[in-house]
Symmetry: C2
Subunit: 142 residues, 2 copies
DNA sequence: TTTGTTGTAATATTCTTTGTTACAACTAGA
DNA sequence: TCTAGTTGTAACAAAGAATATTACAACAAA
């Protein structure tokens, strides 16, 4: 399985808010148009980003804005905010290895630290990329 | 979403084959018992590992064996063999960003290389761990 | 008060994973 | 050759997750 598109959606949302902040009120409908994703999904993601302190959303009057300097918003912040992976565990372990088998009994003890190493390598790379990088590349391309 | 349990299952399968190779015929039923997973699922994974040249499976008489030295079987080999992630793309990109929006039009151009960097960091770490490591730790614990 | 928006619930749809049943093809050994 | 046990695979079921959709109350600004 792949990591939920909520992640790329969230990055897209940030890019839109920053790009259009001076010219448009960036609402969930506006973002739904740019991403081609249902506005309710957008609102849910905005809610998660808001809960993580990454954006502010104007209830009633409408519109979203970015709550922090772009270089302080890393991909890892976004990834955690939108909960792409349950309980923070990248690998789905088979649930009930047999306790009667020497291998089944010890497979968690053997594997867990290795899986965490892999996950950490990925998260370290995520934390090295920020929305500042994305916005600079976006401006260059537009 | 998490990475399919086929990955941890495959590692478990290798550990079982190596541990029990001298004392038992390691069949899909045997492995189903150790992992607590349906034997048909086990056979499907064994089929994928066989297609990747990592194991041999005796049709008819039954039983699986490991096809290569343990230190030449990396987690990345296994991960690719069992196709945990479709098309090798770790991140699921939202499908149809709007071509009418400057951001939607360019989001792939901006994001793709960054996502590949993250994926590569993970795969590099996967390739640094081998079944030899797993077997040594398993023997220590048993 | 009107208008447009957010937050959220409820439900539907689609997709993927995993489980299950069934059985033909196969191999070794009696 | 026959038997017993196994693999490979198809077909289908069940469960779970992601995403879409509809609906509407709460809200804020003009």
């Amino acid at each position: 399985m792949q990591i939920s598109s909520r992640f790329t959606l969230a990055v897209h949302i940030f890019a839109c808010i920053d790009t259009f902040k001076d010219d448009y009120k960036v609402t969930s409908d506006f973002l739904a148009g740019s991403t081609n994703v249902n506005p309710v999904i957008i609102r849910k993601i905005l809610g998660q980003l808001k809960a993580a302190g990454l954006v502010e959303v104007a209830r009633g009057s409408g519109g979203a804005s970015i709550a922090k300097p772009l270089d302080e918003i890393s991909f890892l912040d976004i990834y955690h905010a939108v909960e792409c992976v349950e309980k923070g565990e990248l690998f789905h372990f088979h649930e009930n290895p047999s306790a009667d088998c020497p291998v089944g009994r010890n497979i968690h003890g053997v594997l867990d630290d290795k899986l965490i190493r892999v996950q950490k390598a990925m998260e370290d790379e995520l934390s090295s990329i920020t929305m500042e990088d994305v916005i600079q590349d976006t401006r260059r391309l537009i």
